[in-house]
């Protein structure tokens, strides 16, 4: 199959297996020069494997790859780089101790005739790159001093500075606030205007719809279809990805007013210098309270301080009427509050220990008699949750690292809920998991108030908050701006409060 001039990358029957697992089964489709081409698919659909092959990290078992008309025979990231393909990863890969300019040009090519580095030239070139995209970042600044969104932008500039022809972006907006997402989207559009082809991998269907020209869908390792973005909507894309009719994920919740039931948790004048200023609010019994804020608004730190992961400088947190003097996670747990981490790779699971061990951690006292652990009971306890939450796991002795992302998240949920908490603090409960698991988790959360559990949800996805919460608190500039309840919870209103003047 000869690649036409307009097709910069052609995949032909690419297949790849890892042992008995067939990650990719004969995937074939072309990517056109200069377009923004999105790849959608659930976790396990084969996206990351495909992308790794394109960027040269993996060699396909069979099939061929054509880049700019010629077949790619060498699979090596450096080779891919040299022919014009580069990738910006989901996890930040910046050099903290170094400057912006050095981060843009890590393989410094600016040499004077003597062979030494020409720093001035490097700074100039960095300034040029930044100017190309209307950015006001100072290239001589240490990158560690920049906010997260700017750091990610610098990383993307690293790819553009190399004048690559094909840039792969893997979940570039993950962890960013809405306004930063906008900045990034504008940047990506400008990249396209310069003729760079972009492969866009994302779970965020709204972004895909806005940015991309065409979308290719993978399902279970197979190629489904490529569609013109203009001709599809969200429901159709989801249908193609999941292959079953899924109720529109984000229908607005029928909210309930729980103020009459009294406050379970009260935050009074809590502050942490540099992050949070004089925050006061209450969580009422059996309500689901959402907290929303853009990057830098203080929500992340608030969640830490709330749960005792960090100490407030001022103010106090009271749970069930009792003010906590020495805040700590241990006390919160004893008072019946649990915390679901927003980054399960970093915290929230014990990857090297069995699922049963994972489950037992917060309730060790409950599952032991005079200190001695009751193994049988731990096993039964774990199996109960596996059943309740439909966790796909062969055995309670299996380790989380052998589970898919969605099941890992469900396991983390189980660990928290197993403590039969009076209150659950969820931090990004559905980040980085596929549509199917997302729907399941939303269902659980909505069912929690019926079990006498109060919920606080921190989320960067407004539609998720709308689907789950009775009330939403919006933060901006380290303070609470407003509280919305019932019908007031609207996407535009929330955004206006969080980002407006």
């Amino acid at each position: 199959m000869a690649a036409s001039d307009s097709e910069i990358l052609v995949l032909e029957a690419i297949a790849k297996s890892f042992g008995v697992v067939q990650a990719l089964k004969g995937v074939s489709f072309p990517i056109r020069r200069g377009e923004i081409h999105a790849i959608l698919g659930e976790n396990g659909a084969g996206k990351s494997t495909l992308v790794k092959i394109i960027k040269g990290e993996l060699r396909p078992d069979s099939g061929r790859l054509f880049f700019e008309g010629s077949e790619v025979r060498v699979f090596d990231p450096l080779h891919a780089n040299s022919i014009g393909i580069t990738m910006v990863h989901q996890e930040l890969t910046i050099f903290e101790d170094l400057t912006v300019a050095e981060n843009i040009y890590p393989n410094n090519v600016f040499r004077t005739r003597l062979g030494i580095i020409d720093k001035r030239l490097m700074l100039e070139k960095a300034k040029e790159q930044l100017a190309l995209f209307n950015l006001t970042i100072d290239p001589a600044e240490k990158i560690a001093n920049l906010p997260l969104a700017d750091q990610r932008i610098v990383e993307i500039l690293r790819a553009t500075a190399l004048e690559r022809k094909l840039i792969i972006l893997d979940e570039p907006t993950s962890g960013l606030s809405e306004s930063d997402v906008r900045i990034l989207i504008e940047l990506i559009k400008r990249l396209k205007a310069k003729g760079i082809t972009i492969l866009y991998i994302s779970h965020r269907i709204a972004e895909v719809l806005e940015l991309s020209d065409r979308v290719s869908i993978l399902k279970d390792g197979s190629y489904v279809k490529t569609v013109d973005t203009e001709e599809v909507n969200s429901a159709e894309l989801i249908h193609l990805m999941v292959g079953r009719e899924v109720d529109l994920l984000y229908s607005k919740k029928k909210t309930v007013d729980r103020r009459g039931e009294g406050a379970f948790l009260t935050v009074q004048g809590v502050g942490k210098s540099g992050f949070v200023q004089e925050v006061s609010f209450s969580l009422y019994r059996r309500e689901i309270l959402g907290i929303y804020g853009l990057e830098g608004s203080g929500v992340e730190k608030l969640s830490h301080v709330l749960f005792g992961l960090d100490q407030p400088d001022t103010g106090s947190v009271a749970v069930a009427g009792e003010e906590l003097r020495h805040h700590s996670t241990e006390r919160m747990i004893r008072k019946g509050v649990v915390y679901l981490s927003n980054n399960r790779k970093q915290a929230g699971l014990f990857f090297g220990m069995s699922a049963a061990d994972n489950m037992a951690c917060p309730v060790l006292d409950r599952l032991s008699r005079r200190g001695i652990l009751k193994r049988q009971e731990i096993q039964r306890y774990t199996e109960g949750f596996v059943e309740r939450f439909n966790i796909v796991i062969p055995d309670v002795r299996t380790r989380p690292r052998n589970l898919s992302g969605g099941n890992q998240q469900k396991l983390m949920f189980s660990i928290c809920l197993g403590a039969t908490p009076a209150c659950v603090i969820l931090n990004e409960p559905t980040r980085g998991i596929d549509v199917g698991a997302k729907a399941e988790i939303h269902k659980f959360v909505l069912g929690l108030p019926e079990e006498d559990t109060s919920v606080i949800v921190f989320s960067s996805e407004i539609p998720e908050l709308m689907a789950l919460c009775d009330r939403v608190i919006v933060m901006k500039n380290n303070r609470i701006v407003d509280e919305l309840a019932g019908k007031e919870i609207e996407e535009e209103k929330i955004m206006a409060l969080a980002a407006g003047d």
Binding site: F95, P106, N107, N108, G274
Partner: protein, 325 residues
Amino acid sequence: MKELLLRILRRKEIVVIIITIILFLILSIGASSTFLTLVNFESLQASIAPNAIVAVGMVILLITGTFDLSVGSVMGLAGAVTALVVSQGLPAVPSILVGLGIGLSFGFVNGFLVAYGGVNPLIMTIGTLYIGRGLVNAVMRGELRYGIKIDNPSFLVLGQGKSLGLYNMFWVMLVVVVLAQFLTLKTNPGRRLYFVGSNYEAARLVGIKVKRTRLLTFMLSGLLAALAGVLATSRFGVSSLYLGLNLELKIIISCLLGGASIAGGQGLVAGSFLGVLFLAMVVSVFNILEISPYWQNIIVGAILIFIVSLDAYLVTKRKKALGEI
């Protein structure tokens, strides 16, 4: 001009510089006849030169985010073996090459297992420290344990000879330090060390050959430690069982004082030299005040604890300011 001054003042090494200057002044005023004599300056050269050379190797490793606890043993072993072959009749140059070869070999083993085997570098180099020290004892066993004497003049000139008023080994050290400082600051391979130390994974992803860099820097560290051992042995004219004993920790302290961090990505060759100078001064003060070597150890231990805690505190503070828990 003012900006330059401000930038210098903000660096954390400024404290060390100031204290060094103060110490120098105290010593020269307080113990003038004892301290500033020509003899003392000479012995200062002799003790600083080998240490500074080892420190260059160490600071480079620290910049790349790792370190090497076997340098003291390598120094001792290289010195002992070189002395042995010289005393057996091998001419100077090949003998020195043998010594350096030992350093390279140890560096290779360390570097290979750490870079390609994924072994924890600290414990790995403790293992080679042990092996090295044991080998020194094995080489210098029996009657040899009091030292292998060297007669070969062309070998001895390296450590005992002078050119232009300064010891030859001091010149060697100067060349090493200046060259290293230049390379790490102004050339690509040198800057790459900082990238590797700052974010190993990211460095790998942008195409820097991180494993090879690790291997080569360990080999360099071994080589420099061996060079220091050869020079020191040449200076004394006899090998010693105790050469390099407990040296690695003093070197690390020197490098940390000079601005390096255990976390990697920071540090300057010039800073490590400064640290070595500082420590040498402190030891001079100790000797003048006639503090026993045991108390010297106690103080060194306390300084190490203090610096490591301080370094950790600063790193944690920075992380917390970024919102980490």
